[in-house]
Symmetry: C2
Subunit: 373 residues, 2 copies
C-alpha cells in the first residue's frame, strides 16, 4: 500500500505518553484531527460517538480499550466491568465483543498487574496486525475477481460500486471492501469506483471518496438512490461491500441501504460480493433478519447534515474553515434512524475472506472455516 | 382540503400586475418566498432552476409561460420559438410539452393578438383547474385502497411510504401520490407516512414533510436507504409514488431511487402504487428503460446539501435565519447526478388515475383510456 495507508493508520499506540491515538473520522474530509484515549471511558465514547467506525477498527479500538482498562484496574472486578461497558458501546458490531473477549482471556491468564497490562497491550497489537494481514489477503483474493472481469471486458474500465466505508479507515490497513480495489489498482487494472454517499452520516462521500482520492483511484460520488439506475444501464460490473455482522448461513448485516443495492444487483445480474475477515462471522446466528439487532441511532443524524460551509476556505489556505450542521427537514418533523439492514444470503454472490472466496451458503462457508461450524 | 392547499397554491395569476406568481420551492421549508414571472424567459429559468418541480406543476407553469409569450409576441414566429424554449427546459417531464402544445393549439386558432392573449390565459387556467380535478379524483380512487388496508388491519395505523414530493406543491391542489393520503386522513383513517428524504435535493424531507405536517398528518422522515429495512419488518403497508413520465406499457420514470423501493416492495409483498393524471402517460413510448431520456443534472447538487444552519433562529422569532450550502464530499472528488430512474412495469402493483385504478399492463391501461391506444 502507498502513502495513504502504509504511513497512516486510523489507530496507533503511543508508547511515550501511554495513550492510544485515533483519527477523529467525524470531521473528515474537511478537518484532520487526532484524539487521545487515556481511559476505557474515553474508548466507549469514541466508539459510541463514532469517532471510529467500521467493524474491524471498532474491534481493534475496543482491544486497546481493554489495555487501558488493565492499566487502570486495581481489581479484576473493575476490569470485567469496564470490558462489559466496552462490549455494550455498539450493539451490532460483532468484532467488538470478539476483540474484548480475546484480549481479556489472555489478560486473565496472567497473575501480576504488570503482566496483565503488558499482555493486554501485546494482544491488542496482535489483533491490529491480524486485521492488517486479513485485509491484505482479502485484497489478494478479491483481485482475482476484478482481474477476471477486466479480462472479460478486454481491459476496459471495471466499474465497482461500494456502499459506506469499508476502507482502511474502517480497518487498520487496506480495508475490506476496498482491499480488492487497492490491489487491482496496484496491479495496473483500469478501475473506477461508484461511491454511494451513504446517508445519514455520509461515510461514502466523506471517507471512501477521501481514501480513494488520496490513493489516486478514479471514483465518482453518487446518491444512495442512483445505484439501481446505473446497474440497469450496465454501468456497474460488480458490487463490493463490507459487513458488521454475518450469520453462518450467509445473511449480511451492513450499513442501512445495502439490502436495496443487493436487490438491484440481483435484478440486473451484477455480482454482489461481501468482503470480510472471518471475525465478522457470528457463528451462533442462523437467521439474520430475526436475530441481528438493528441499532436505532439519534434521529438528528437524519435531520441534520454536516459539511463545510460553501465559500469557507481550507485551513491550509490561511482562511477559516467552517464545518457546520444544517437542518434539512422542517423543525417539527420527526425522523427515524435505523443504522443497518440485513441482506439475505440469497442475494449475495459470494464472500471474500482471508481464506479465499466462498458462496453465501452454510456449506460453502463451512468449507473455508471447518473448525468453526 | 384544508388551509394548506385550499387557500394556497404553488402557482397563480395576478390579474392586476399581469404576472404569474409561484412559490420558490428551493427555499422551503426554511423560507417562504414568492417569485414573479413576467416573461417566458422567467418561466424557463423557474422550471430549469427548479423553483417549481413536479410533473403537473411544470405543465401548468409552462402553460402560463405560453400566455406570457403571447403577451410579448409581436409575431407568431416569436411565439413558436418561445414555446420551443419552454418545451426544452426539462427533458423528462412529458406534461411540459403536453401543456405547451395544448395552449399553443388553442392560441393559433385565434386571429387577433388580444384574442390570442386571452385564449392563452384561459387555456392555462383551464389546465390548472383540470389538474386540480384530476388530483381530487386520484384521491378518491386511492382512498378505496387505503380504506381496504385499514379494514384488513382492523383500524390499526396504515403505514404508507412515499418517495420525493408528489404533493400539492408538485401539482396545484391535493397532489398525486399524496391525494390518497389527504383523502384518507379526511376520512378519519389512521395513517402514518414514511417520507423518503429523496437525495440529492431532499424534496421529501423538505417539501413532503412540510406539506404533511401543515395538514396534521403523522409522518416520519427517513433516509432513502431505510425503506427496504422497514418493508422487511412489516412496517410499510403500501408505497405510493408519483411519476414524471409513464409508458403505455406501464414503465414508470420517477425520481432517482424509485426503482430501488419498487424492488424492495416486490421482495416483501408490499403493494407499490403509482398515482398519476393521464397527461403523464406518454402514449408513444413502449420501453421505458430504452426510450425515456434521463436528465443528468449539476453534480454539485450531490456534493452540496442545503439547509438551515443549526442554531440560526427562525425569522418569525426575530433572529436571522441562515440557509447555507455545505460541501459533504472532498473538494476534489467528482460526483454524478442522474435525476430519474425507470421502474419496470413488472414491479408496479397498479396505477391510480383520474379514471380509476388499473394494472401496469398495456391492456389494463387501455381499458381505462381506450381512446388513447
Amino acid at each position: 500500500m502507498k502513502s495513504a495507508s502504509k504511513k497512516l493508520r486510523p489507530i496507533w499506540f503511543d508508547r511515550d505518553s501511554e495513550t492510544v491515538k485515533v483519527i477523529d473520522q467525524r470531521l473528515l474530509p474537511h478537518e484532520f484531527v487526532i484524539v487521545d484515549m487515556k481511559t476505557p471511558d474515553d474508548v466507549v465514547t469514541i466508539i459510541k460517538e463514532m469517532y471510529v467506525r467500521g467493524a474491524p477498527l471498532i474491534g481493534v479500538t475496543a482491544a486497546y480499550g481493554v489495555y487501558l482498562a488493565a492499566l487502570h484496574a486495581e481489581t479484576d472486578e473493575y476490569l470485567m466491568r469496564e470490558c462489559e461497558k466496552l462490549k455494550a458501546a455498539r450493539p451490532t458490531a460483532v468484532n467488538l465483543a470478539w476483540a474484548v473477549d480475546r484480549v481479556l482471556a489472555e489478560v486473565m491468564k496472567q497473575k501480576s498487574r504488570v503482566e496483565k497490562i503488558e499482555t493486554a497491550l501485546k494482544e491488542a497489537d496482535n489483533i491490529a496486525e491480524f486485521e492488517v494481514e486479513n485485509c491484505r489477503k482479502i485484497g489478494e483474493y478479491g483481485l482475482e475477481i476484478v482481474r477476471e472481469i477486466s479480462r472479460r471486458k478486454q481491459g476496459n474500465t471495471v466499474n465497482i460500486l461500494t456502499h459506506c466505508n469499508a476502507g482502511w479507515l474502517a480497518c487498520v490497513e487496506y480495508g475490506t471492501a476496498t482491499a480488492p480495489m487497492y490491489a487491482a489498482y496496484d496491479d495496473g487494472i483500469d478501475i473506477h469506483v461508484w461511491v454511494d454517499e451513504t446517508r445519514p452520516l455520509n461515510q461514502g462521500a466523506r471517507l471512501t471518496a477521501w481514501e480513494l482520492g488520496k490513493y489516486g483511484i478514479r471514483h465518482t460520488v453518487i446518491t444512495d438512490n442512483a445505484g439501481g439506475h446505473l446497474m440497469q444501464h450496465g454501468m456497474v460490473d460488480m458490487v463490493i461491500v463490507g459487513t458488521d455482522r454475518t450469520t453462518c448461513t450467509g445473511d449480511v448485516a451492513n450499513k442501512i441501504g445495502t439490502y436495496l443495492k443487493a436487490l438491484a444487483a440481483k435484478d440486473n445480474g451484477v455480482p454482489f460480493y461481501v468482503a470480510l475477515p472471518s471475525s465478522t462471522f457470528d457463528w451462533t446466528l442462523r437467521d439474520g433478519l430475526r436475530e441481528i439487532p438493528i441499532e436505532e441511532r439519534n434521529p438528528d443524524e437524519v435531520r441534520y447534515v454536516q459539511g463545510q460551509v460553501a465559500g469557507s476556505r481550507l485551513q491550509g489556505a490561511g482562511g477559516k474553515l467552517q464545518v457546520a450542521q444544517i437542518l434539512v427537514s422542517p423543525e417539527s418533523s420527526p425522523a427515524a434512524n435505523y443504522a443497518f439492514d440485513v441482506t439475505p444470503a440469497r442475494l449475495v454472490t459470494g464472500f471474500i475472506t482471508e481464506r479465499g472466496i466462498c458462496k453465501a451458503t452454510e456449506a460453502d462457508i463451512k468449507r473455508l472455516f471447518p473448525e468453526k461450524l
